[in-house]
């Protein structure tokens, strides 16, 4: 120990210990576990009978509300069943909500919710990893009897055993008819010279890429890697030609109305709700992307029975018609159009709520992606959108 005093030794040892501890913490402290669960082992004891409540997380502004004499569908449900509903509009974004419940559902604990509504691809993802309980078909007869054909059997839940669409929507093209001539196809949107630099596309990969796959002749529900690559290349070229001004989340309506963009990829409900008669939504010739937000019962939900009552209730045509009249999204329930005669006769022929059979026959869904493919595709897409 000549020349080295005690303190130096302590310091050296302390430093080494801190370094070692850091390394161990880094190596083992922050790994993320496999999130797969087996839903059959995560069934909670159902307390629906003694505890008449239901906890439902949904997107904001997605349900009708009591207004003077008008009795909302929710209030009516509570009156009919005696179940009190804790309705929370806390789903703002699929990824954000996923992050919110990931730690509980991924580790096999309760998310403290009985029901939530998520878009197709996120619903598919959660079902895939076993976070979602099977619905009892006998308790939701209306669902199976009344769901419209185009939503009946998505690839990720072909028999609607796990999910029930809340509302549905179409993705197509919108343009400002005061400023630009009619646009018929998605290809036109991407190539017409008078639209150069004046269009926007959606940041949602599945919506946009569905159309690009279709332009290349592929089927969005079932395409090959080559077809994907061709679609991405086409998008890249469109972008480098300066055709696309921006990729937007949901602020495109403002841009379209103010003339910053002339046309864009758009959700039917947004245009219907914008209330601007210059804004026109059209189904592209290549086909239409259809999506739905699906009600799902998570593992360890304690009021599954009540949730099923709720689902069954909303698949009654009159109830569905009331909801659709408020929302202006596409109603997933057969017979609602007829029931609309009584609810709001003006809306019976609204094609943004009740698309024609011809329109519905042209709809496509995006195929279910496994985790690795999803990441590749999202990565490819982010490269083009610049993020």
């Amino acid at each position: 120990m000549a020349g080295v005093d005690r303190r130096t030794v302590f310091k050296g040892a302390g430093g080494a210990a801190a370094l070692g501890l850091s390394a161990v913490a880094l190596r083992y402290g922050f790994n993320t576990p496999d999130q797969k669960q087996d839903p059959s082992t995560l069934v909670a004891k159902d307390r629906s009978a003694q505890d008449k409540t239901l906890v439902f997380s949904n997107w904001p502004e997605y349900i009708d509300e009591d207004d003077g004499k008008y009795v909302s569908t929710l209030t009516q449900f509570e009156r009919e069943t005696g179940i009190s509903v804790r309705y929370t509009p806390d789903v703002n974004d699929n990824n954000e909500f996923f992050a919110k419940v990931k730690n509980q559902l991924g580790s096999g604990t309760s998310s403290k919710r009985d029901l939530f509504a998520l878009t197709d691809w996120m619903a598919a993802r959660m079902i895939q990893v076993g976070w979602i309980q099977k619905l009892d078909a006998a308790k939701v007869p209306n669902l199976h009897a009344n769901i419209i054909d185009s939503l009946k059997s998505p690839a990720w839940d072909p028999k609607r055993q796990y999910s029930a669409p809340w509302q549905s929507g179409l993705t197509g093209i919108a343009y400002n008819k005061a400023k630009v001539g009619e646009i018929k196809s998605f290809e036109e949107l991407l190539t017409r010279k008078d639209l150069k630099g004046r269009i926007s596309l959606l940041t949602e990969m599945r919506d946009t890429m569905g159309f690009l796959v279709m332009i290349g002749g592929g089927d969005p529900e079932n395409f090959s890697d080559d077809e994907w690559q061709a679609a991405i290349d086409l998008l890249k070229k469109t972008r480098s030609d300066g055709q696309v001004r921006s990729f937007s989340g949901n602020e495109y309506v403002q841009d379209l109305a103010s003339g910053n963009i002339l046309a864009c990829e758009a959700w039917s409900g947004d245009i219907a709700n914008a209330g601007d008669e210059n804004l026109v939504w059209v189904p592209p010739e290549e086909g239409i992307m259809i999506w739905a937000d699906n009600m799902l019962v998570p593992n360890l939900a304690t009021h599954q029975d009540n949730a099923e009552k709720w689902i069954n209730y909303y698949y009654e045509p009159e109830v569905a018609a009331k909801l659709a009249a408020y929302n202006s999204y596409i109603c997933p329930v057969k017979g609602a159009q007829a029931a609309m005669e009584k609810v709001d006769p003006d809306q019976v022929d609204n094609e943004l709520i009740f698309p024609t059979d011809k329109t519905l026959s042209q709809t496509h869904r995006f195929m279910a992606l496994d985790e690795a493919t999803m990441r590749t595709y999202e990565g490819d897409y982010a490269d083009v959108t610049g993020a």
């Binding site: 993320t32 999130q35 921006s246 602020e251 403002q254 910053n260 985790e371 999202e378 993020a387």
Partner: protein
Amino acid sequence: MTSTAGVPPVSTDDTTAAKPRGRKLTGYWLILPGAVWLLLFFVIPFYSLVASSLFDPKGSVLTGYEMTWHVGNYVDAFNQYKGQLGRSLLYAGLATLTCLVVGYVLAYAIAFKAGRWKNLMLVLVIAPFFTSFLLRTLSWKLILADDGWVVGVAQAIHLTDVLNIIGLTTTDDRLLATPFAVIAGLTYNFLPFMVLPLYASLEKVDIRLIEAAGDLYASPMRGFFKVTFPLSLPGVVAGTLLTFIPAAGDYVNAQLLGSTNTKMIGNSIQSLFTTQGDYATAGALSVILMVIIVAAVMAYVRTAGTEELV
């Protein structure tokens, strides 16, 4: 930075061994709240970030990630996103510079010329904070709209042409969805962070020093550059840091006001974390950004000669 957590502020001289044990420990007790705070809000998140930057990239959110010292993430992340990195630093730098010029004039006016309006003006500087960051940024979409009067005026005075030539806008004679709009948005959003520290240090400048400079043959202009400005340097340094650091990591302005060609590193990190679920690359990119900023800040502070700040 982390080492300060472990150093007790008391002397642990060997000769004091006879001291009562309680008193020796007092120092440790005193730093405990600070240490816990640092641990919870800095050390753990920082370790978590570093760990995720070294995750095996083959993992995923659902199948789980494992830390395997995969240093390659850094190389991949840097190579793939160097464009966005460079752009972020450039935009943040330009926005900081604009903030400095605009903010200095404003802070100077408030500190020396505002008189009894001083407090009102300070409130006005902070007033934008009463509305949400997102709303404020979105409102710039209306102000800079293609058919709006701002663009009209900019075209009339050929500002758009000038901006085109220096590459801040595109050839379409618009302002939105261009680098200009993103930099303008950053400048607008972070201006108060520049003005307040500048004001604080200008306000402290002794007016008598400026008089002394005048007495010693310095014209008002020379006096400003030789006395007022050097004395406000702590404010300049604090202001530029408070502006540059968050601006470099910002993604809202690029998302709302920019286009595909103006995405900043914040957008990439956000997309990697949430949409793509690629924690490894996202982590590596975050650490890279952090290292670049810390290095830049240290170099800057050293040049500015205000080491006391660090």
